[in-house]
């Protein structure tokens, strides 16, 4: 596999996989919290 293709592929895979994992973990954590404590009362975070 040539270097430019490898760099391109790994960079994109890492980015996509990283963001997918990050957001899904946030969803899992949020799900767990909401099941335990119910929805947050705030209407705006900032």
């Amino acid at each position: 596999m040539n270097t430019s293709a490898l760099i391109m592929m790994l960079t994109v895979w890492l980015l996509v996989f990283g963001f997918t994992a990050y957001f899904f973990i946030r969803v899992l954590v949020g799900d767990h919290r909401e099941k335990k404590n119910g929805l947050k009362e705030n209407t705006n975070n900032y």
Binding site: M8, D31, L39, E41, Y46
Partner: protein, 617 residues
Amino acid sequence: MITMEKHVQHDFLPKKVESWGSRVGLVLAMAGNAVGFGNFLRFPVQAVQNGGGAFIIPYLVCLVILGFPLLLIEWSAGRYGGQFGHHSTPFILRRMDNRAIWMYIGVFGIFSNVAIASYYCYMESWTMSYVYHSLAGTFHGMTQNRVAEFFNDYLDLNISTTGIPFEALLFFILCLALNTWILSRGLSGGVEKASKIGVPLLIVFGIFLAVKGISMKAGQQGAVNDGITGLNFLWTPHFDSLTNPKVWLAAAGQIFFTLSVGMGSIQCYASYLKKNEDIATNAFSAGFMNEFVEVILGGSIIIPIAIGYFGVDKVVELTGLGGLGLGFRTMPFLFENWGPVMAALAGVAFFGLLFFAGITSSLAMGTPVVSFLRDEFGWKRKSAALGFGILIFILGMPTVLFFKQGVFDEYDYWSGTVSLFVFAMFESILFAWFFGLDKGWEEITRGSDIRVPVFFKYVLKYVTPVLLIVVFVASLIRPANDNWSLLSLKGWPLHNESIIAQLRHQGIGPNKDYFSKYYYAEFDGTITDILKKDGGTYLRLESGVKSLDYRVGGKQHLLVKKGDQVTAGTPLVEGRIINRVFFIDMARILLLSVFIGIAVLVFFAWRRNKVKYNQSI
């Protein structure tokens, strides 16, 4: 000016409002909605045809400036409309701006789902059938041509591929029955459960095939190239393609279709969220899950495997026929190289993942229709689901019966492409300029676990609407060969797939009358076969990868023989001919009638519930 009171729960809301069982379930359902056939069949073909690894640059740019903003718009519009008890776009949009025009633009959000489901469920049924055939070993010992022919025969109701009469129709009905049953089970008991099973399974199947494809070795099991050769080909960046507008339009189109935006299904799913439930994190999570399946898994299956066996040149040629051809005409043959057990496993995994990708999307198409009938006409869920099933069966039948006459492609073009762009363009304008971005931004950020970058506020207001208008105008006037330098004040030749050219039937070829005495050759080529199958005579015209099968009817007779070289316009058959253009126009009239029919229903629903609606405004 009439203004809408925010976040008011109204008396007329149904007493028992459905909701999602869990956040994970919602995200998986939304991801399942987005993940479809396109992730595995369309994306790799687009990448190959538009600069390989360099295609991913405009693709990711479009994800940020078009895909995510549209996701945020649709999620927040849906949750907003849901607070008023609406789960379908005509009424969600009217809640956002109380002008009747938005309600009729919202009709696109029901129309697209109905029309797309009509042919999408048919495609879904092919995958069901191919899972069965992979298990039954139908493809064992077949040549590549025979596997390709099997697909053509499968779509021809006059031919029985395996002794099952009207097999394609049977699987279509089975598939519709399954969709209807799941929809009748409700949101958390049906759609959510199906997504919780379907999405993880398709990812597992995808990983299995990607690992198998990438680890292929040249010289083993008939492969001529390593699996890595395919990845190398797909990911080698051709940076010169970045200056080509065609590549940017292709990237925008791919992002648009892959996220299933512009359909009304995201708004419908989001409308079942509670007032303060997070939408930003969920939207990004579902969006990225779709990207994972598309970029990482979708890019690692058909291209590496096909290049492993055919080499780069042949695969480039095959991608000209689109992803469907590669998936159904080629993959079963390639899997056979892996031995009978592995071929069956790979066939079940490949068509199984396509099936799960398909059904989680078609359920998302059914939900807005079911919700519309329940909200506005008071139907019970089971009746509404059955109504959807019957409607899709009636509208889907023309695609089953007249697939080869181009009805399927017409449905896909007008409802699966044009309608989506038109709707997305208007909803982005509505959100940013009529609903108001301040109010919209408050909707997007309320209850969010993450801080949405303010950058998106400006993208939502200026970039996304403008980009959608540009893409829409470009698809109206797309020049021949995608050569944008042809544009001039004196006019230019249009691409056959541009909207204007389609309306004019440009490129329809020599068979341009509805009815005629002769059927003419549509391209230069050779009559490679005249064969008798299941009581019918079939003529095959071929040129390179282009192939055309024509069924010679009872009152028609052949004017050519096997081996004849013909040029476009040469009469091939004489008799009473009904040309493809007739079926194309009938399909268009049918689709237009469906749109008008839904608009009339929406009008009556509005009149019926006007008093209740006005109380809440």
